[in-house]
Symmetry: C2
Subunit: 482 residues, 2 copies
Amino acid sequence: MMTYRPLFFITGLVLSKMAFFMYFPMLLAFFGNTLGSIEFFFAILITHIASAIFLYLGGEKQRSHLGVREMFLLTTGVWLLSSLFAALPFVLIEHISYSDAFFETMSGITTTGSTVLHGLDTMQPSILLWRSILQWLGGVGFIVMGVAILPFLNVGGMRLFQTESSDWSEKASAKTRSVAMDILIVYLCLTICCFIGYRFSGMGNFDAINHAMTTISTGGYSTSDSSMGNFSHFAHWNAALFMFLGGLPFLLLIRAAHQRTLEPLWRDAQIQGFVKIVLVCAISLSLYLTMTGQFSWADAIRLSVFNVISVITTTGFGLDDFLTWGDFSVIIFAGLLFTGACSGSTSGGIKIFRFQIGFSLFKRQLMLLMHPHALFPQKYNNRKVSDDIVRSLISFLMAYMLTVAVSTLLLTLFGSSAAVSLTASITAVSNVGPGLVESIGPSGNFADLPSASKWVLSFGMLMGRLEILTVAVMLTRHFWKR
Amino acid sequence: MMTYRPLFFITGLVLSKMAFFMYFPMLLAFFGNTLGSIEFFFAILITHIASAIFLYLGGEKQRSHLGVREMFLLTTGVWLLSSLFAALPFVLIEHISYSDAFFETMSGITTTGSTVLHGLDTMQPSILLWRSILQWLGGVGFIVMGVAILPFLNVGGMRLFQTESSDWSEKASAKTRSVAMDILIVYLCLTICCFIGYRFSGMGNFDAINHAMTTISTGGYSTSDSSMGNFSHFAHWNAALFMFLGGLPFLLLIRAAHQRTLEPLWRDAQIQGFVKIVLVCAISLSLYLTMTGQFSWADAIRLSVFNVISVITTTGFGLDDFLTWGDFSVIIFAGLLFTGACSGSTSGGIKIFRFQIGFSLFKRQLMLLMHPHALFPQKYNNRKVSDDIVRSLISFLMAYMLTVAVSTLLLTLFGSSAAVSLTASITAVSNVGPGLVESIGPSGNFADLPSASKWVLSFGMLMGRLEILTVAVMLTRHFWKR
Ligand SMILES: [K+]
Ligand SMILES: [K+]
């Protein structure tokens, strides 16, 4: 039987944290004399009350052991409930429908970055800040979840990245807490560095804070409708650098920081793959853009590097509309749309290690075809690629395709074109942001989609962020059996 | 070291068979007093000479043991060389470029069915017959290859369907020959039944013969630009039935014929999956087409069943242009475009068993997430799904995606739009025929693509037909090392 009380308790705790973060935009509105302080006050009040109710239902803090099913329910439940309350300020201040507000919130907290809001340049600062905070929280929440929860649940082959045995002992849990703290510190440091970079690039304080939060979380919300187009070349390179860093495995960043050497980073197979893909795509695109006479060398390189990193890390910042660059570019970006960067980073998508393992299985298969009786042991990052990993990898791919397919079919039924439905679904499930059709592309907006589609996409974003299987498991009948 | 002499010998034998089949269109032209007898005579002459040269190079018939690498080289080489010569009549009679002729031939022999020829309705009968013969030969050639060669090479998890141990002993080879003969008989019987069905539907002898050959081979070439649109409703249902039969595993058809019961067919997991997918897709489409008011019930059901079977079996016959049915339909057909029917049939694509195994891995993974320490043995058709199978399955998927990606990128570089490049590549590699963009869709034509694209697509069709890995293995450096 499912024990719900500890779940209520933890949900209550998380909601109170969520309410705490709402104070920042409230104070900004209050002292900056802009709209939103009253509205945020009400949102805080409601969230606090909900938090109190959950804490009350949860009872005393319990040391009770959470079963596997409770963990799944908790993980999904916390993200879902947080979003329900975090959406309130959008309804109260922007007077948009709750569907729109929920879409915007889910898009923020899952670091997807698709938006339904128009006129960002003249929007209330409190709302802009709240969007950035959602992404920033979602980013660090995802990394911590990836270290503290998912490996224990062995979702989608992530056990490959586990460093310790996966028991729930006191010792392991203390260790996990200390790792989570390290992650928070590195994340905060990167955000500050990114902020300083943006300030140097000529951004004002407010823009720099917001973009720093949405860059490092690979979220992609901006304070301007023209996204990064508004800012200097230096800002573009700064963004590219920190999106790239946001796409690295944070545990390795921590190790590098501890050992004061970049060696753990160079030696990692996944990072090597990441760098290679970025280089190959950026160079081909630069060549293509200059040879077709669309841009000068300098612009081509800047735009290519920026956009390749923006899409592969699933950030989704816009800088020039790459959909107008020709079909070769579109196909490159279509491929990057579901690639994603490194596992253990803030980025979404299928993640590079899965492609690397798949590709090495392919190469191994070719060798096996030539030498059927030879042994070809398979390693990844010096670990054996177990049959378990291979099986969970293919399950993940199936789950990913199935999710995208169902979402796409629903969207066409709600009236969107095939191309919009498909790329909107991929961009949502991969947590990237922009689709590959003008209306929802880097210069587009999701506002015009029907409400039902927005709920489908919101759910897709959530599934994508929780590595799909975490949510899919709850859609089985067996899960709810006593 | 590679031994080439037996390869030359077998190639010579196959070319002489190819020349033999050219006599049919030559005789048709001669006695029908239509164009082509002289041209086919020259093509036969050239092919015979080439055959003789190969036989001479091959020397005496040798009982020498072929190594694995020789088998790969032979398999690909035979398909490629046959196509080179089989393309001659198109050049000589239709006066099209050799690129176009090669594309048409490869499209025929791989049972893809994409065409570059216009004006089929007024075309020389000899050429129409030659196109149908190519598909008919390609279809049976593929099944025999799938039984006699691929399982020994364990390409893409096909060892799952092996019934005997895979040694190359005399006994096994005799057994293989007898199975090959059984296949030929069943194939011939089905072709004749299909022909009779078409005759009853009101088709003339010539149309019925041609369509019977291209239906059972799931090839899809027609004698009319409007494909099946020209014929009666009865013909459509006849086509649907025999395309469906062409999508079944031939070994099971043989077993059913031997045992005079349909039981082996009902009990097969792959056939069950095939039927389920067809039913689900056809019913959803029928509902969609009637509810959107596009067709009456009767028409909706006929068109849905016909087109779903046509695409999933990778036949690609056109009947009404499903691209105009709305975006929901387009997405359904996009999914079916790479599904394919059963392994061991004439159809191409990824094949249903791979999706079934992937999906059952997914379901098993969900159970494992809930019960990490339980054992969930995995069976498919009462056989254990070994780790080998799983690994070769993921290699196949990677190889498929990689092939489609490279082909798509090349096509965009040669100037096609992203959508044309992508769906042309998928349709080629899956051996379906029509793409999902008007210009190359069910009512379209591949003639307007640049020559370079046609060569890329021809190669894609060949790779798709040979289960990709068979060709991919030859693209490695290791293969050619002494
Ligand atoms: K994003
Ligand atoms: K076909």
